[in-house]
Symmetry: C2
Subunit: 233 residues, 2 copies
DNA sequence: GACAACGAAATTGGCGACAATATTGCTGGC
DNA sequence: GCCAGCAATATTGTCGCCAATTTCGTTGTC
């Protein structure tokens, strides 16, 4: 659409020009989750191959894969768009997270070594500090880190994979939530409860604490959408 | 490998020859889950395009998608094979099912209409009869049907999608289990308990019953693998 | 007789071209 | 002035070809 003239920065994939087999997927995925592409935005194959300095077939196969991952939607002969996930879908995702992160939390409670417990405790302390300082973005990052570490500690590859996929799908909702005023002070004690349960190697308490936390996230999602007017993301 | 001469039956995809965009994926997926291809078997692109009477690029893109679904594994420049899932992986899958089908079971208990409850009860009755008759294959089918209907009743699209994917990955383990002598008489009461809980619209009991059931499945998987010698599927 | 080096065959990876389809803009009639 | 039909354009879908890579078989040497 004539914007090929406005010399757009080309994001070279992996350094070498035009190559990078599987990493084209990673590049486009990151661009979507980072918000470079808006929800519902059309993803034209030739534009993308241009932007990422790769071939159209590479982009094509990447879009196929991202469709499978739930980040992109395609219609026959009508191309691909960034998937926009509705509030209802975000709630569904959170319900699944509730179950699966509950499992991971329980497993982490079983397996965590003293060092790993110390690591979680350190994250908890940092969270406390960040909330006290009113550092919303920092807290959001620590939040992601905590959830990720607990997933990893579970050593449940199947659950980890599913959760990673779902996380990518709901980054926007997740981020919106983090910016909600007063939200950190609600979630902080929930996070600390999870850490405590894992530290005490109490799988049942760890699962319950995680479920409580994500239940509260679901509630917050619903509330936030009311104030925001039910926008899709 | 010179077996192109033995006139192998060509399974036309979708009737018309050589077409059928997305349904090539379905055809190969079915062939894998039906056991036409053994685990670890190589999937040569030209062979498949021959067998399903389609183009190599269609097969190629199908294999890409099936890799994403966890049914196929690929190595750079070395082609695709049918993924073989180990006992440990099967247990992981079952743990995830435990959580997610637990969720679906609870939601089904909330939502099920009288008609739907009657339908589940009918399945339960049929199961009882099939066990009494010693009809193992029939029971296995009814088993799958029950789990599927509960998933559908939950109207949790996200969980349904994940579960469907995982089911395809573990069909072999699932089938092996169904053939285990004495297994039906163990699982029958568990299934009936799930149905009862849903019929009584008791989400908590429904979730618990489902978790108990799949916990028992995990135990059975482990036992079966001992007698079978820890074979991969 | 075993093994390394080499060459041939099989297979995958990727690009370019072309056909099929959808979208957009234009023209003429009412 | 609005709408139907048609032409032009943009975009996707698919195929065939060739290069890159791996695998398999052969030959020659020790």
């Amino acid at each position: 659409m004539a914007n090929r003239s406005e010399a757009r920065q080309q994001e070279r994939v992996k350094g070498r020009g035009g190559r990078g087999g599987g990493s084209v997927v990673a590049a486009i995925r990151e661009a979507i989750t980072r918000g470079d592409f808006a929800p519902e935005q059309r993803l034209v194959e030739s534009d993308l191959s241009d932007r990422f300095d790769t071939s159209r077939s590479a982009v094509r196969s990447a879009l196929l894969q991202l469709t499978e991952e739930g980040l992109v939607e395609r219609e026959q002969n009508r191309g691909a768009r960034v998937r926009s996930v509705s509030l209802e879908e975000a709630v569904e995702i959170c319900e699944v997270r509730m179950m699966l992160e509950g499992l991971c939390s329980a497993k982490a409670a079983e397996r965590a070594t003293p060092d790993e417990v110390a690591e979680l405790r350190a994250i908890g302390d940092r969270m406390r500090q960040l909330v006290a300082d009113g550092n919303v973005l920092g807290y959001s990052e620590a939040n992601q880190l905590l959830h990720r570490r607990i997933r990893e500690l579970s050593e449940q590859a199947t659950a980890e994979e599913v959760l990673e996929r779902l996380r990518a799908q709901s980054v926007r909702h997740q981020f919106q939530l983090a910016l909600q005023p007063g939200r950190p002070s609600v979630s902080l004690p929930e996070h600390l409860a999870i850490i405590d349960a894992i530290a005490e190697h109490d799988p049942l308490a760890a699962e319950t604490a995680m479920r409580t936390h994500l239940g509260s996230v679901i509630g917050a999602l619903r509330e936030a959408s009311q104030t925001m007017g039910g926008l899709r993301f």
